[in-house]
């Protein structure tokens, strides 16, 4: 499993996550650059993500939705602020209406992903910047909490037998 560290700062409204992977940095980058791979890990297992657009270039957009256990969907978009392969991605992340149009009434957040080679593979660092507690509240309220809990419940199994479970999901 990746050595993972997660730290958050409630007063600064930032969340920093670090993961180490036993793959070259180009492979790690590819997992984020290829929407078919990205959607295999972006959403919790019970709220899988589907990317319908992934134009990974400065000014480009991604559109995705996550489907819950009862079939309800939660839609979102990214706008790429910086794309520096295979080192750094910066996106603005927001919610979207059913038809995919950005929902301007909802808060957005900024995410900065950095990718770097290490002695044993590569390291991912993700920093999420929230504009307000409201932005965090809405993320949590968009049906993701249950999905997260269930994904966590399956975490042990995933870690114990990563390859079979991944193969099953890929179906």
């Amino acid at each position: 499993m990746p050595i993972t560290s997660v730290s958050s700062d409630a007063s600064a409204l930032t969340l920093t996550v670090v993961g180490d992977y036993p793959v070259p940095v180009e492979r790690l980058w590819e997992a984020y650059a290829d929407p078919r791979q990205l959607e295999r890990f972006w959403g919790p297992e019970t709220w899988p993500a589907t990317f319908t657009r992934h134009d990974m270039e400065v000014g480009g957009r991604s559109e995705y939705y996550m489907t819950g256990p009862d079939g309800t969907t939660s839609r979102g978009w990214w706008r790429f602020v910086a794309v520096e392969p295979p080192r750094r991605i910066e996106v603005e992340d927001g919610f979207a209406h059913e038809d995919g149009r950005p929902n301007d009434d909802m808060p957005t957040m900024r995410m900065v992903f950095t990718f770097e080679p290490t002695a044993t593979g590569s390291r991912f660092t993700g920093v999420s910047h929230f504009s307000s507690l409201e932005a965090m509240e809405q993320l949590v309220q968009m049906g993701m909490v249950e999905g997260m809990k269930s994904a966590l419940g399956q975490l042990d199994g995933v870690l114990a037998e990563p390859a079979p479970l991944a193969a099953e999901r890929a179906g």
């Binding site: 793959v23 409201e134 965090m136 949590v140 997260m148 994904a151 870690l159 990563p162 390859a163």
Partner: protein, 116 residues
Amino acid sequence: MVVSRPLSDAEIDRVFHSLADATRRDIVARVLAGEQASISALAARYEMSFAAVQKHVAVLEGAGLVTKQAQGRERIVRGNPERIARARELLVELEDLWKARFSQLDALFSDTRSQE
């Protein structure tokens, strides 16, 4: 579940506006740690006027982060840990989401390698 009692948008804005100031964060940290401070004691600590500290405390009080209680002629400031805890809870939810992403990404890499 922690989302069962969300703050209203206006309340949330007040919480984070309050915490955007270093002096106010320090006041909150002290009173949350159990320090019972009067406004005049705080004013002495920060080397700023009584009125300036009173204003900071009023902002924190408006956001629900602290309460003021009369004790004799003094006004004692006490912390309200619930609001701060709420921000922390939300970050924990999001941390959990990232942990799930990491384990799934790891599974994806394991899967890819096993196919090679």
